[in-house]
Symmetry: C2
Amino acid sequence: MKAPRSRGRVSTGSPPADGGDSRLQRDSYHHGNLRAALIADAIEVISERGAGGYSLAEASRRLGVAVSAPYAHFADRAELLAAVCVHALEIFRDELEPRLARSAAPADRLATTARGYVQFAASHKELFQLLFSAEFGALDKARHPEIAAAERPIEEAFLDSVKALTPTGDRVMAEAVAAAVEAIAHGHAMLLLDGRFGTGSRAAGRAATSAARATLALLDGSDRFLSPRRTRKS
Amino acid sequence: MKAPRSRGRVSTGSPPADGGDSRLQRDSYHHGNLRAALIADAIEVISERGAGGYSLAEASRRLGVAVSAPYAHFADRAELLAAVCVHALEIFRDELEPRLARSAAPADRLATTARGYVQFAASHKELFQLLFSAEFGALDKARHPEIAAAERPIEEAFLDSVKALTPTGDRVMAEAVAAAVEAIAHGHAMLLLDGRFGTGSRAAGRAATSAARATLALLDGSDRFLSPRRTRKS
DNA sequence: GTCTATATATCGATAGAC
DNA sequence: GTCTATCGATATATAGAC
């Protein structure tokens, strides 16, 4: 009744040659690095085929372990995906924070943060798409509070700079500006990955620069942003 | 693309005699509206569980038809998903275009477009998320040129207003501004759906207003956006 | 911590009747 | 245009050996 599942031919054409492949030695996964290997593999696959295209069974085959092996490290599929999500957010945070130290002026810090946000999306397309895919956004964050906790540092990278920019402003205004700047960065990142800024090697730079300039333009007219009734050329 | 399809129990028990679903009678699908019903159902399900969570077999069960019935209307699963994508884009376009006629001044038109973009995301959360999910963005658009064609009107809604705003400007600058405004709108829409603007009934309004104001702020400093070297207060 | 083997279930797609 | 029936493949998850 059970057919030989020898070669994993997937209908939409995934590379089948993974039955007993070469690079990864099966023995390696007996020393306790299977968990890390699963996460790394999941990031790679999900970036290409989406979270829906990832399966534990296929991953086990790729890594040369039994389909039951992952269950020694994760309770179920959802828990592995949550771990992947947290791992991606930590990488994001680690790439964004060092940039903040390099810029002194608050406005420049904010523009640099926006630029870094877009550049992370460009250099880690896979991770970025993963973090904002439908499956992760809705399904996991609700059940796994550790994901929300891992997201906070990214939001605070924006908010802290805004607070430094307008120390006198109230909290509501600061959060409004921070959200707007984050939206600018996020929008540029998404449209970049969508090809809206072109496809060449310059696309990432164009998008990042546009995000940084749009941020500065917003700050430039931030009084207008916050109080649009006030006449402009007063 | 094999999906997770383990979403616990779904409507496996949904009987053919249509016990649970009230609106749609099984007989209706014998008159030729199965195609439309499949698309409507797919939009509903994909919005909740992602494209990976959608299956033809399950949809057939939900609609009370045989699993083979959809193949009379779509060659395969991918073709149905492409049709869903095109349908969503047409709704998006139809909601965005009427707004343009209502605003005369180019700057206001652009801000209104950005606002409408965000409001569409709010009122049609499902469709919007669907259009920018990983599966649709990468998998379908490449193979189905009709999707790219359906996307153009949305991009042109921004570009046309920018051109009206700066009739003297060259094409490159106009496209740069249009892309930035579209990024602002898109970023606000995404962050709104992510809960970044709060979760209450006011969240959509906040996000839409922020997008419109950010757009005006960008245009306000558009000379600075396009030529950042020029001193600001000249 | 990993393996073998298996239970249970769903999927996409097709063939052929009506 | 839809149905019945089915094939072949894949999935998640568990039990028990080592």
